[in-house]
Symmetry: C2
């Protein structure tokens, strides 16, 4: 963006937000507030724009619907919250009604799998790219909310599932090599890109277990670790060699590229969280099979403003900054 970068814009907009005494505001993956004592409402919204967040020649309308809901569900998962009711707004061109209906089918598919109810929305015309906005309202157990600012010195850093698969799928689409796209290993990578599975059960289990700090991996593990470090005022080391890679990504793209995408590719929608080291085994055993966690780093101490160091083979490779994207 010209004149004002994205981070400056978000900072400017935050001045207009009004997190209440009972609310968490924009700093977290979702906003949370207590309408009545003993209850906690969690709400989030994400807007997807054709040509920016998706391409209709790469993404089927059904997959687009799935993903539009999935990215919001992932925000709730990162708070340890349960869905939920969704409101879906769509701006479409004349002639796109059938496409939008197929998109709704994809939303409905994931909604049924996750217990989400699509209760309303808005459908309007546009003269430009297709825009889909999902607003999602869920509930969490008061006192058991996962937050970005809960990392404590001495905690270990853990990650559910594997990372880099979605970015590997996107890399194959960008490359457009039909031979590589036709390889059987491309299947799970494209599926990870088109139909990410939000870690709802894992998020709720982490909250139940008393874990206090988590974020979902939308922008890449290194970038999310930086958000946790900044919110918690701590220094974090992230061991690149420990990141759990997707075997299909290694098979098609090689280990070096697969690892780079695991660090900073994004759109994994796994959960990155911190916990006391003594509880790692217990937490690992309690999480669902598809969310089996890996220890990927450590909170080394307090650090006002936050700090993240990438470690490889025991050496500091690179410090991570806001908006970190390249390896």
């Amino acid at each position: 963006m010209s004149g004002m970068g994205e981070f400056e814009l978000i900072a400017a907009l935050q001045r207009h937000l009004d997190p209440a005494a009972d609310g968490l505001g924009i700093g977290d993956d979702a906003a949370a507030w207590a309408p009545t004592p003993g209850s906690l409402v969690v709400a989030t919204t994400d807007m997807l724009v054709e040509g920016i967040h998706f391409r209709l020649d790469w993404t089927s309308p059904r997959d687009l619907g799935w993903k539009a809901l999935a990215v919001n569900l992932s925000d709730l998962a990162a708070m340890g919250a349960a869905p939920g009711r969704a409101l879906v707004s769509v701006a479409l061109l004349p002639g796109q009604a059938a496409l939008v209906e197929a998109m709704y089918e994809g939303i409905g598919e994931l909604a049924r799998l996750t217990g989400t109810r699509v209760v309303g929305g808005d459908t309007v015309r546009t003269s430009g790219p297709l825009v889909v906005n999902v607003a999602l309202v869920g509930e969490a157990d008061p006192g058991r909310l996962l937050r970005r600012d809960g990392a404590a010195p001495g905690d270990i850093l853990m990650l559910t599932g594997r990372v880099g698969a979605s970015a590997a799928g996107l890399a194959l689409l960008l490359e457009g090599d039909p031979q590589r796209l036709a390889r059987p290993e491309a299947g799970p990578l494209l599926a990870a890109h088109h139909r990410p599975v939000p870690m709802l059960a894992a998020g709720r289990k982490l909250a139940e277990l008393g874990v206090r700090c988590a974020i979902d991996v939308s922008d890449g593990v290194a970038s999310e670790a930086w958000h946790l470090a900044r919110a918690g005022g701590v220094a974090i080391t992230l061991d690149v060699g420990l990141l759990p890679l997707e075997p299909a990504a290694v098979a098609i793209l090689g280990e070096v590229v697969a690892r780079r995408l695991a660090v900073s590719g994004g759109e994994d929608y796994q959960l990155l969280f911190t916990a006391p080291e003594a509880r790692a085994a217990e937490i690992a055993a309690a999480l669902p099979e598809d969310a089996r966690p890996t220890i990927v780093g450590r909170v080394t101490g307090p650090h006002p403003g936050g700090r993240v160091e990438l470690i490889e083979d025991g050496r500091v490779v690179e410090p991570v900054q806001a908006g970190y994207a390249a390896f």
Copy 2:
């Protein structure tokens, strides 16, 4: 829209909605559900697209922000609900950051006046028109929700405030005559168009008084009466001669045009509601000054599928259908 009209599209999309046993679904101005016994959450969303719903050469960014929140607050008013928390999503072009910040200021202005808290949102890029989506979550008193389907035969039809002012303001903008735009009477008409005031206090008072049926006037009184008739399975007569006109609209556009805009102009955001005739005086006395109601018609009997007749000088002028727009 080609191929599929707007109403068919909405009908198609409704099949994918999942109003729960405790919910009202898409048929009303907002969705409502009870997360815990004794509480009722009401949620709504509206998307505004540049070039379709607003023009940046006519609307200041601050006014755009005000209106984007106002149209959602009006949906809550029509349910008798109170705000609320808002999530604001914006798709903007590079270079529009300052514009979007001014828009947030307008949102903040109305938010403070109405006790709404803007707790989060999403800010993304686009290659096309500016898009603003507001999702709003509020609360209502269980058992005291205003609904579209509550009209009963014998009820009178009442309307808060005056209608046609916003459409008159838009007519002046469309006409673009600098002399008419400079007349002092243009001021309140342009203000009605740019800064509609949601009837929140009136909606809550109606709910408190036990009124059961209301809708906000977004598409024009005749069209909204038709929604009430269809939802309630009743026949409604709307007396065009009784509609409370804005004196400034009469002064600039003449009474014939002002009355036509009052019937079908839209964007008034007044509340159209039904009540037993015996309670009209009590209700009128209880409503706030700016929402002083007028009797504008009557529910004449049951009518499966709904029916609305426009009456003028005691004669039926015209039946009203779905999507009714012209006088």
